[in-house]
């Protein structure tokens, strides 16, 4: 419950920042009675009211969350997973799709309890297969990055 309240407080802070930003939205000239400001502000007021209500009466949590408590170990893995995703996004264009997807797939495989050998094989197969499928067959252009010199 305490975490939920903390989260709700964080939400309220975000609303306040957004509301402050929204008050400055002024149309330079306008053809209509309602400007760009009214609707977001109305939403923010309703959101704040709803969030305050939830802080007072949080209600019960779903059972789904009860049997998977967030232990330190799980949390560590979640952070690693988000980190892997972020690195994948960062290197997506820099290293190119094939290399970054290969490394990313190995990391993800390991995170989900795959062995080293299976991880490397999975990574190699997936990165090349998805590149061929999307870039060559489906016409979704993917960056080649460091491999672009190979002229494949």
């Amino acid at each position: 419950m305490i975490y939920q309240r903390l989260f709700l407080v964080a939400l309220l802070v975000v609303y306040a920042v957004l509301a402050y930003a929204a008050t400055t939205y002024e149309a330079p000239f306008s053809y209509e009675p309602v400007g760009p400001r009214a609707f977001p502000l109305l939403l923010l007021i309703l959101l704040a009211a709803g969030t305050v209500y939830l802080m007072i009466r949080p209600g019960q949590m779903a059972e789904e969350n009860a049997d998977t408590p967030l232990t330190g170990q799980v949390l560590g893995r979640l952070v690693l997973c988000v980190l892997a995703l972020a690195l994948f996004a960062f290197f997506f264009e820099k290293l190119g799709f094939i290399v970054s997807a290969f490394l990313f797939a190995i990391a993800m495989c390991r995170l989900y309890n795959g062995g080293w050998v299976t991880s490397v094989i999975t990574g190699a197969v997936m990165s090349v297969a998805f590149y061929m499928l999307f870039d060559r067959v489906l016409d979704v252009p993917l960056p080649l990055g460091v491999l672009s010199g190979l002229g494949v």
């Binding site: 930003a21 149309a27 053809y31 977001p40 969030t51 939830l54 967030l70 998805f130 016409d139 979704v140």
Partner: protein, 502 residues
């Protein structure tokens, strides 16, 4: 009679070789995606949008693909519920209640075949319902002005919260967050940049595909990581695969009733398959007075939610096609796909794109038949897929997700945005906020604000235009009903709780 003519025309569209093949692929993909633990129709449909777009499919074909995947997921979801006791998505939770006990008693084959038959009947009833009601509603909805539309959207949001059962306020907050997210980007009317904080990547607003894949794919990956389990064991389906006459007779009325209930629940915006399966299960349980074995493997308890959720899946196409208001999270995604093709869903769709609408409706019939024909003989193949380990599944999902997002704009900014949305979505999910409400809010947000502003432009700022026609009165009455309903339910629950612990 006019309807039959259009339906015939629709079958003409749906039976072209390309569309038939697409429907077949869609049903196969849908079944596989639905049965993989943790993946539901929203993920399946969302991942396919970029692919359908990349293939250059015409709009009606890609809509047929998405609808076939949607129906296929509802079929596939039951397999993992029955054999693994892991519902692939929320609407399959009720199926597991009686389906899994049946499988443990060695009646897995019977459970699978009777639920396939139930899904088929439910889908059929609902598709007939769509054929009858959608054109009527569309004709009526043409009279809607901006004020009426705005009221309808308010109704959709309150309906979402009012029907949400035990967490109306969380659902309301989630849908408001969605509405707010829709405001990000350049304002079409005044050219003001809203909530972009100087970022060029946000100037266009949050891309729909980025939001959906972040909310559903990335957060799902994180949830799967939590649940990484080792040797999951699917129960074997031994013995008789087909149900017999006696069993069919037992569930006959249950199936018919649940199909009708499911269809009407599906029409309500926001209620969708999850509510439909719960309502059908509960009412059948209450009705079954003699030899009631609900919860321990009663065939009626299995047939009711399965029939209802297939019916609701088809029923939710009605508000999508006629009003442009999605009836469920998955139809919200389909609506987003339509806007990618520059098609504005709404009552005019029946006049401007009849081949799209009727082709879709006809292909619902075809996909349903394909699914039932495919599901009974291929069930052993599908159960094999349940054994795919997470270490192979998750990296694949993650990479396809990233490609889908990158494919929209070819910027890595969208990838980062997707990850941020995914992490926030995961946190919201942990605190029990429904993510499909965020998505529905996001879809409705843009049209809702536009209609409000248009209405007030017509009236020169007079707010009274919002309650000046009989349709708006009806709409507001429904809104009030949806606001009062959860309060009444909470009050009754508290009153019932008082004598229990004095």
């Amino acid at each position: 009679m006019e309807t039959l003519g259009y339906l015939g025309q629709g079958f003409g569209v749906a039976t072209t070789p390309l569309n038939l093949f697409t429907a077949l692929c869609g049903t196969l993909i849908g079944t596989v995606v639905g049965l993989l633990p943790g993946l539901g129709p929203i993920n399946g449909v969302a991942l396919l949008i970029p692919i359908a777009f990349a293939l250059g499919l015409p709009p009606e074909t890609s809509l047929i693909l998405l609808a076939a995947v949607y129906l296929g997921c509802e079929y596939g979801g039951r397999i993992s519920s029955i054999l693994l006791n892991i519902p692939g998505e929320a609407s399959a939770v009720m199926t597991a209640l009686d389906g899994h006990p049946l499988a443990r008693q060695g009646k897995g084959g019977i459970a699978l075949s009777i639920s396939a038959a139930g899904s088929f009947t439910g889908g059929l009833i609902a598709t007939i319902g769509v054929t009858i009601f959608a054109p009527l509603l569309a004709k009526w909805a043409v009279a809607f002005g901006p004020a009426e539309y705005f009221v309808m959207m308010v109704f959709a949001i309150t309906c979402l919260a009012g029907m949400a059962g035990n967490k109306p306020m969380k659902t309301a907050v989630a849908s408001l967050i969605g509405l707010l997210l829709a405001c990000v980007g350049i304002d079409a009317n005044s050219g003001v940049y809203r909530f972009t904080f100087g970022s060029l990547g946000l100037a266009d607003g949050i891309q729909f595909v980025v939001l959906v894949l972040g909310l559903f794919s990335i957060s799902e990956i994180l949830v799967l990581l939590e649940r990484t389990y080792y040797g999951q064991s699917a129960l074997k389906t031994s013995g008789r695969m087909m149900f017999n006459m006696k069993e069919a007779m037992l569930v006959k009325w249950t199936v018919l009733r649940s199909g009708v209930v499911g269809f009407f629940m599906g029409i309500l915006p926001g209620a969708g398959a999850t509510m439909a399966s719960a309502v059908a299960y509960m009412s059948e349980k209450r009705m079954a007075t003699k030899d009631n074995r609900f919860g321990n493997g009663d065939l009626r308890g299995l047939a009711a939610p399965e029939t209802a959720n297939s019916a609701a899946a088809c029923g939710s196409m009605v508000p999508m096609l006629t009003l442009g208001v999605p009836g469920s999270g998955t139809t919200a995604v389909m609506l987003g796909a339509l806007t990618l093709y520059n098609i504005t869903p709404g009552p005019m769709l029946f006049q401007t794109d009849p081949q799209l609408v009727w082709g879709l409706i006809a292909s619902l019939f075809i996909a349903n038949v394909m699914l039932v024909v495919m599901n009974i003989p291929l069930i052993r193949v599908f159960t094999k897929i349940l054994a795919v380990p997470y270490w192979a599944l998750v990296p694949g999902i993650a990479i396809v997700t990233a490609i889908g997002v990158y494919g929209v704009h070819a910027t890595t900014f969208d990838l980062f945005l997707m990850i941020v949305i995914g992490v926030v979505g995961y946190i919201l999910r942990k605190f029990d906020f429904p993510l499909s409400a965020v998505l529905l809010g996001f879809i409705l947000g843009g049209i809702m604000e536009q209609n409000l502003r248009r209405a007030l432009s017509i009236s020169n700022g007079e707010l009274s235009i919002l309650w000046s026609s009989p349709i708006t009165w009806g709409g507001w009455a429904l809104v009030v009903l949806m606001l009062v309903l959860p309060m009444y339910r909470g009050w009754r629950r508290r009153r019932a709780a008082v004598p229990a612990n004095p």
